[in-house]
Symmetry: C2
Subunit: 173 residues, 2 copies
Amino acid sequence: MTGKKENILTAALELFANEGYSATSTNKIAKKAGVSEGLIFRHFKNKKGLLQALIEDAEARISRIFAPIIFESDPRKVIKTTILLPFSIEKSEYDFWKLQFILKWEVEYHKPNKMKPLIDKLTWAFSELEAEEPEKEALLLNQIVESISIGILRDGMETQNKLKSFLLKKYKV
Amino acid sequence: MTGKKENILTAALELFANEGYSATSTNKIAKKAGVSEGLIFRHFKNKKGLLQALIEDAEARISRIFAPIIFESDPRKVIKTTILLPFSIEKSEYDFWKLQFILKWEVEYHKPNKMKPLIDKLTWAFSELEAEEPEKEALLLNQIVESISIGILRDGMETQNKLKSFLLKKYKV
DNA sequence: GTCTATAGGATGATAGAC
DNA sequence: GTCTATCATCCTATAGAC
């Protein structure tokens, strides 16, 4: 069950997410994983390969989380679920999210269009609800949700909880 | 005018802001600054000292930018100026802002209360305008502005320009 | 699959000359 | 103030044994 390869991934995720990619040495990862340093390179070729494996894992999880929104057909529910999204993240998934956000600041991993499907769906929802400028509403809500996510990951859910009911009321969903 | 100490600061700022603190070696900084590596340590004791000098500089600039809002007495103008804030950043200041945001992900430099004065002022403004929940309005607007700033720094001002007039309209300022 | 040993280079930092 | 030379340490990665 607890293969050593997985130990490495778990340790690396926690360290990359909380201390940064460059600041984390393969030595630290190996120690935390209870594994020899060489094994990391056997399994992942190099340090970047290890990061890549984590990124792919994280992206899979994230599209799984977005799926219920993309396939929702009630516009009100699309907006409601989007607002609730950051509050429904499980603690066990925090490091995956953190990694996402940290990597946005590392040039080579930042893809601005990653949120396009969500924004498109939100645009559709707002236009169904006859908003004056559905695309801008969508862009704005997307950014609000993103900034709430960041707030939760950095300072804890309590700091953002006030905004939850406030937003639901504001958007009447 | 172009003292070597300043060269070091300029080079380090650009590198720290765009490639991260840990990913930037003192060797790279020295080369970019056209200076010997040893000089960095003469002037700033160590790499952390160099970062600290930049942080202090950045914080001074930022409070200078916030000042006009804090001392504004017209609540509508407080909100308007806050919304316009990220759009009024000069290109030459981008790296200072980037550094601010990057450091928020490095535990030891993240202070969640840094925005308190702005949030307090916004709370006051919204309560003057008789909003139902002024504190929550303030928290929300603060986060919106922060996320727009991030968007500008990462993807350019064009990507955020749509939101500018949209927000001014939404907040009727 | 996993470990040990180690290569080869980069890194932060110091000492000493000018 | 500034540079050159140098150090000890740490880093990523490989080779070879089990």
